[in-house]
């Protein structure tokens, strides 16, 4: 008797399988958690893969220091509920230690996160890192493997990727290398929201419509904050907005939206005519290849 299997069931099962493969084949995995919707889904998938036992890995947040306060609050609450261990790797510390320098005139710390992440991987000797990246986000990612090898400098070599067949993942690495693993590679933004709704997962409040002081820069609505003062010609408006992604406050744009619950968001995503990165990430628009370049350097 053939039975009903929804696309979410199939995607979920695939992701659980991937997480268990990592737990079984690596010594020291870690799960990256940004507080955003994709990593929220990862945490639920980890519960599905490993409960009633604890996760066989800690959770790590790469903290840019430019956080939405709502997201930090959510992060701590969620981790406490799960009873799992949280590591916070701080970009501010990398700056203070002189590992990275902020570019004059560029408030975004997005690119600086790479160094903080690689340093933390080295410090804790992680050999595998779960990330919430999806292939539908961006064209360089469309070709990235689920098990994506990084050399000892954390770099990705798109031309030398290992073939990936069936559900057989090759977890062999050499000392110093590590594996980035993307369990939700095959999910779209829509799948993520449908899953969050189905599982009734909590997300940070900034995903829902709220009033906020924003100003226009590079075609995006940016939130005013201590990290990002508006310029003299940039008028501040109070608008009803929400966020489609959660990132560094200085380069994550809000969208004008009345969506107040999951159902509204799903309708909005269904009707959206602009990709989430195109709408809300200033750093991706710079060049046709900017994501590929950052990924080669070791970015998420």
């Amino acid at each position: 008797m053939p039975y009903e299997l929804t696309h979410l069931d199939a995607l979920e099962s695939e992701a659980i399988h991937i997480m268990r493969e990592v737990a079984a084949e690596f010594e020291r995995p870690v799960l990256l958690f940004s507080g955003g919707k994709d990593s929220i889904v990862l945490l639920r998938l980890a519960e599905k893969a490993f409960r009633p036992a604890r996760f066989p890995f800690p959770i790590m947040h790469i903290d840019t220091g430019h956080n939405f306060p709502e997201v930090l609050e959510f992060r701590d609450r969620r981790v406490a509920e799960l009873g799992e261990r949280l590591i916070v790797a701080s970009v501010q510390e990398s700056i203070d230690k002189g590992r990275v320098r902020e570019e004059p005139g560029n408030p975004s710390r997005n690119r600086l996160q790479t160094t903080t992440l690689l340093d933390a991987i080295l410090e804790h000797q992680f050999d595998s890192v779960f990330g919430g990246a999806r292939r539908d986000e961006e064209k360089a990612r469309a070709k990235e493997r689920v098990f994506s090898l990084r050399d000892e400098f954390g770099q990705w070599e798109p031309k030398a990727q290992r073939p990936e067949l069936w559900s057989l993942y090759n977890g062999k690495i050499r000392r110093g290398q590590h594996m980035r693993v993307f369990p939700i590679s095959n999910w779209t933004e829509m799948d993520v929201w449908q899953y969050i709704e189905r599982e009734n997962l909590e997300v940070p409040s900034i995903y829902f419509a709220h009033e906020r002081d924003v100003f226009r820069r590079d075609g995006m609505w940016l939130s005013t904050s201590e990290f990002l003062p508006n310029g003299p010609d940039e008028a501040v408006e109070r608008m009803v907005v929400r966020y489609r992604t959660v990132g560094d406050m200085t380069c994550t744009g809000a969208v004008s939206s009345p969506a107040a619950n999951f159902a509204d968001i799903i309708l909005e995503v269904a009707a959206a005519r602009i990709t989430e990165r195109g709408a809300t990430r200033a750093d991706d628009a710079f060049s046709e290849t900017s994501m590929e370049d950052r990924k080669r350097e070791g970015y998420f």
Binding site: L5, P158, W166, S167
Partner: protein, 443 residues
């Protein structure tokens, strides 16, 4: 809504990128900013219309060379289904990418240029689809606008292809005449081809019946991970976690654990959301057993009267994926389900010319992109099924012990000591000399 995974293969200029671009565009799988980007590029290159093919450009190297060199995954959904496309390049030098993209596909689209008819490459694509066990094939006869939407041309290609494909192990072939450029029969039925009574391509993708492709007979559960909470609350808890490869498991079932052969019963089947009475592929679950047995990753739970073969020898088709060739005596790591062992190539029986499908008996190696039949011997027992029975328990990868790269993909023809009886479909005998085109008598 369910999920259909399909692969596309076409040779350069068959119109594969245009077709995918159109499927994404017409099903609204393309966003405005993506469209704006390709519009800009089209204008910069001096094209008169927006080139939808640009949507499927991926990495920089590919943009520079203007070709697709890797498998790219793309996503779209209609109200009926979610689709995952494994977009693979068609040239013979990328056979391994095609094999990779085909390994998880439910359906393959083979593109044929109506002006050129069934070429070597279309046959190669269909052969790979059948080798990788894709249950459904669509032959999309493209560029019908350039042959005046001629029914005769379509019929001729269909007949020729169908005759040839009868040799392959493909049970469901749908022929669809299309124009990817103009959209005929891609999403909606074409008014230019009233003689064609079949479905549009998208309609077919939405409706092709895949639920019965899952193997619900041969219960196979490779143990992936053992859940042992070691807390007071769950003191003696031992959950065998994994993804069901095939067959249906029920609470209370009598089961055998391999390779030990020990028998017990299923006490419970659990998921994070609670206990379930039955579970089938491809669900990820935890199985708890009545008796405490010593079970670990790499073991397999199955039914007492329906077991895979426990063997250290196997006869398999292998697609080679590395520059350094496979040779007799070569040693590799072999990963099959959740078990990794060492393997040695005992015999290279023949290589298949992927264009003519002739068997080259005197071949001494498999180079990059070559496909051949080998006998392997392993350091420890594997729990093997024929690939035809189950892709999950019949497929394996080979890993180079020094580079640690994935160098080969294998499909089990037969487990156990070598026998001569197993035939692989489609290929013909030949001593391998050039020009030998003897057809094998119909099987």
């Amino acid at each position: 809504m369910d999920l259909l995974r399909f692969s596309t293969a076409g040779s350069v200029d068959d119109g594969k990128s245009t077709l995918i671009g159109r499927l994404l565009f017409d099903s609204k799988g393309i966003f405005e900013d993506q469209y704006a980007a390709i519009e800009k590029t089209s204008r910069r290159r001096g094209y008169t219309q927006v080139d939808l093919a640009l949507l499927t450009d991926g990495l920089r190297a590919e943009r520079e060379q203007g070709i697709t060199i890797d498998v790219a995954y793309r996503y779209f959904a209609t109200p009926r289904r979610k689709f995952i496309i494994a977009d693979t390049p068609g040239h013979v030098q990328y056979t391994r990418n095609m094999v990779t993209g085909s390994s998880t596909a439910d359906l393959a689209i083979v593109l044929v240029d109506a002006r050129k008819g069934v070429l070597e490459q279309s046959r190669r694509h269909a052969f790979i689809a059948s080798l990788l066990g894709i249950p459904h094939l669509v032959v999309a006869i493209n560029k019908m606008d350039l042959v005046a939407y001629s029914e005769e041309v379509y019929e001729r290609i269909q007949t020729e292809f169908a005759e040839w494909a009868a040799k392959l192990d493909v049970h469901d072939i749908q022929f669809i005449p299309i124009s990817a450029l103009h959209g005929d029969n891609v999403v909606t039925r074409s008014i230019s081809m009233p003689w064609y009574q079949g479905p549009s391509l998208l309609y077919h993708l939405e409706h092709v019946y895949i639920a019965s492709d899952r193997n619900l007979i041969d219960a196979r559960f490779p143990v992936q991970w053992v859940i042992r909470p070691q807390t007071d609350e769950h003191h003696d808890y031992r959950g065998y976690a994994g993804q069901i490869a095939a067959g249906v498991f029920r609470k209370g079932d009598e089961v055998t654990v391999l390779p030990s052969g020990r028998r017990t019963r299923i006490k419970r089947i659990e998921t994070f959301d609670g206990e379930v009475e039955t579970a089938g592929p491809p669900l990820s679950v935890s199985i708890l057993l009545e008796d405490e047995l010593d079970i670990s990753r790499g073991d397999m739970i199955c039914r007492p009267h329906n077991q895979p073969t426990v063997a250290t020898e196997l006869d398999a088709m292998v697609c080679w994926m590395a520059d350094a060739p496979l040779r007799e005596g070569g040693r590799y790591l072999l990963k099959h389900t959740t078990r990794t062992v060492k393997a040695v190539v005992e015999d290279l029986r023949y290589r298949i010319d992927v264009n003519s499908l002739h068997r080259e008996q005197d071949a001494t190696e498999l180079g990059l992109n070559a496909i051949g039949r080998v006998l392997l011997r392993t350091s420890g027992p594997l729990l093997l099924d024929e690939y035809d029975l189950s892709r999950t328990t019949g497929g394996f990868i080979l890993i180079d012990e020094t580079t640690l790269d994935t160098v080969g993909a294998g499909m089990v023809l037969q487990a156990g000591p070598p026998q001569q009886t197993v035939e692989d479909p489609g290929t013909t005998e030949s001593a391998g000399e050039a020009g030998d085109h003897t057809e094998r008598a119909a099987a």
